[in-house]
Symmetry: C2
Subunit: 119 residues, 2 copies
């Protein structure tokens, strides 16, 4: 179920490299990678999981509303990260020229399906 | 000079609340706020400055290229954050319905001017 959702959202996004559904504890539930790039999306999700926790905590302290989405752009990649539940988030990795807008859209669209699948 | 750039990019972005040019040490160089929202953009920039440092360090460790931009979306606000130099970053805060794409565009556009002004 998770794998199917991740496969679809990865394949539908031009320039996507892979996606991971992960717990804030750094344990991945499921992932889907396209062949071709040696980017370790799983390792990136683990590293950025800690950062997400801090963004979430800061949002609570600052009373600016619950964290929903974080995007990170580096010189080589883009990452669309979406909080699914209190415990899980999804990371979609794209190459620099990937369709960032489409990536954001598919993650928003599949948010509810992933949430339901987690219950 | 800084103030003028921040004023322009804030006023040009529909739904913008304010912008801050800040050091990773939490000291603001300049800021511009529009009246109406009681959001403390300066406090948010301080909180997220630490998070940015971690995102930057993680990018270095993971060899995924230098961090350029981070976006954070909460239930109430959107933040477009851009690394200007090794020491400084800029935060543009928008309300939830603000024009996120325009905000990203103006920060990219004024990146070089801010960098030059910092030298």
């Amino acid at each position: 179920m998770f794998t199917e959702i991740l496969r679809n959202l990865t394949c539908e996004t031009p320039g996507a490299i892979g996606s991971v559904l992960m717990g804030y504890d750094g344990i991945a539930i499921s992932s889907h990678f396209l062949p071709g790039d040696d980017l370790d999306v799983q390792m990136i999700a683990i590293e950025y999981g800690n950062v997400l926790k801090e963004i979430r905590n800061a949002a609570a302290v600052l009373s600016i509303g619950e964290m929903e989405e974080v995007n990170i752009q580096t010189r080589r990649y883009r990452f669309v990260i979406r909080a699914i539940t209190e415990e899980y988030f999804v990371v979609l990795a794209l190459d620099r020229e990937g369709n960032f807008g489409k990536g954001r859209y598919v993650l928003r669209r599949d948010n509810e399906r992933l949430r339901e699948a987690l219950q």
